[in-house]
């Protein structure tokens, strides 16, 4: 195995399309980072194959934040050690372990199932909004997304923009040891080991959309970054991965190229 870099930070997004949170020492299941995108808001006005209310139609949605009320219980399944020892898939706790609070941009804190939360979004959607809960992570395409600091630096250099990595909404931000930007593109169909146990396979390049044009702190948008990626990088920045072997990870974990 070749050491190719380190895991810089791990992120999850309790509510799809809202602000994410950095987490330490977290379990990564076949479905992705524990607690990632367990909640999502659907809109009856959106296409059935992608029914979600997102920051694309409602840019200020990125200014809403969410936090699990019992943070520690949402990082690792209760019987994780015993299950992994037997090569079993550790069961997740019941849904109430993932009780969630929302903080609106106005500073109001609401339970996620408080009708006032959806009511606060109503004028931003043409359809009826419904709260979804799932334990299989409401990701767009694949369980994990990965983005490198080198790619961020290259995009900053190419565009002259000062870019916040959070625009890219990855699960894993990584720091390659000796590679240039977009090195992750070369890892498609390669197997990586991260930390003691987690193994992932990079499956495909991450096609970007309007979401990356939104400033995560102000919700202001400018299409320039997206246009640049489309014209210079065929629309892709970062990669998607599938989980082959479940395990826990933490910032600083070494990343190895297995094969």
């Amino acid at each position: 195995m070749t050491n190719i870099g380190k895991l810089e930070s791990i992120w999850r997004y309790p509510v799809k399309s809202m602000r994410g949170e950095a987490v330490d020492d977290v379990f990564v299941a076949y479905t992705g980072v524990m607690g990632d995108r367990l909640y999502a808001i659907s809109s009856s006005g959106a296409p059935p194959e992608f029914p979600w209310h997102t920051n694309r139609e409602h840019e200020e949605f990125v200014l809403f934040s969410a936090s699990y009320k019992n943070h520690e219980t949402t990082l690792k399944p209760p019987a994780m050690e015993a299950a992994l020892k037997e090569a079993l898939n550790p069961p997740y706790p019941l849904a109430d372990a993932f009780a969630l609070e929302i903080k609106t941009p106005d500073g109001v804190t609401l339970d996620v199932d408080d009708p006032a939360f959806l009511a606060s979004l109503r004028d931003k959607s043409e359809g009826e909004l419904t709260l979804h809960f799932t334990q299989k992570n409401a990701v767009d395409c694949r369980p994990l997304s990965l983005f490198s600091h080198q790619t961020l630096a290259q995009l900053e250099q190419e565009t002259g923009l000062d870019l916040d990595k959070r625009r890219f909404r990855a699960n894993f931000y990584v720091d390659w040891s000796e590679a240039d930007g977009f090195y992750e593109n070369e890892l498609v169909n390669r197997r990586l080991k991260i930390g003691d146990r987690l193994e992932i396979m990079v499956r495909e390049l991450d096609p970007r959309c309007k979401s990356i044009t939104i400033d995560p702190d102000t919700a202001e948008t400018h299409p320039r970054l997206l246009r640049h990626i489309a014209r210079k990088h065929e629309g892709f920045a970062g990669v998607y991965a599938a989980v082959l072997t479940e395990g826990t990870v933490k910032p600083g974990d070494e990343i190895y190229l297995v094969d």
């Binding site: 139609e57 840019e59 309007k210």
Partner: protein
Amino acid sequence: MKSEPASVDDITNFRVTLDGTEHEVPYKQGEVLLDCMLDAGLDPAFQCQDGHCGTCMVGLEMGEVTMRKNNVLSQRDLDLGYVLACQSIPLTNDVWVDCDS
């Protein structure tokens, strides 16, 4: 300037600003603006061509268009004058879109 209504047959060109340069692009009946730009040899940003990624959003500086569908632009974008080139059909004969805006 007020847009002049036009029948489909009246619309033969539209104007495009791309990388700071203005272009007069032939309009082919029934096609969307993006396809006409590509046919004219221009290199605008685009990706899905299906109205959901937003890569081809351009500023409508003049004229009127209709979008076949829009699954990505917000009301804020529309209020700012953005349209999707991959979904836009001109309705007037003075359409000008800015790919740099």
